[in-house]
Subunit: 120 residues, 2 copies
Amino acid sequence: MVTSKQLQKAHSCAAGFVLAINDTLNVITGKWKLPIIGSLIYGKKRFKELEREIPKITPRMLSKELKDLEMNGIVKRTVYDTTPVTVEYEVTEAGRSLKSVLDKMVEWGLAHRKQVMGKK
Amino acid sequence: MVTSKQLQKAHSCAAGFVLAINDTLNVITGKWKLPIIGSLIYGKKRFKELEREIPKITPRMLSKELKDLEMNGIVKRTVYDTTPVTVEYEVTEAGRSLKSVLDKMVEWGLAHRKQVMGKK
DNA sequence: GTAACTACTATACTATAGTATAGTGGTATA
DNA sequence: TATACCACTATACTATAGTATAGTAGTTAC
């Protein structure tokens, strides 16, 4: 038998899970987050290199998404005092730790793609 | 040394990963998807029960998100030929298989919440 | 007959996400 | 001096996601 206290506990627990999941989702949702992470996984890159490597991205979106990723500790931005300035982006340890999450998502996505109807 | 062929392979591979990850993301993104799944995990529910259980959701959004989830094979809708009709929603096996993905996301979210700045 | 319940749908709106296009300030090269 | 590269920013727009509010068709209870 399920008591109302148990249900309450289950619900507040589920709510906490939802918060934690949303923290994770906020980090990787955004049309260009995964392509950027994917591109930086192979090594440090400069702004223009990313712009050239990621087809169709605009500098505005690249800048915005990099800022989000930096704010969330996924990417580190380093400015070198050269002339002209060089700016390099690289994934952090926290960024690399996303791999286990992404791996699970790849796994599930591949296994269930047939059933999944993309939002056309 | 990294050849251009290897890079090409790595890139097309990464692109495939991005597609698979997006398939997974499409299933769980949407403001009310997780609360709905979370609510149904504890057992079948009727439309009105979900509406009462999920604070602030409107029938329009509940209906839309349930349709998305049904389309993606996460939730099953059953109509019982009673008078008046009874409609029940439940998570499918595919829905339950999301658990391993969600668990990883909870884990990462909890571990990195400090660094993550919610989009205020 | 009227009030209330179920399972929604319709219409109109606001807010957020993403795009298109142009421009800035500094530097280097021809 | 004129052109081009780097690392962006500004402005204005479109598209998608989500909200607010009301209403529908069928049924049951008073």
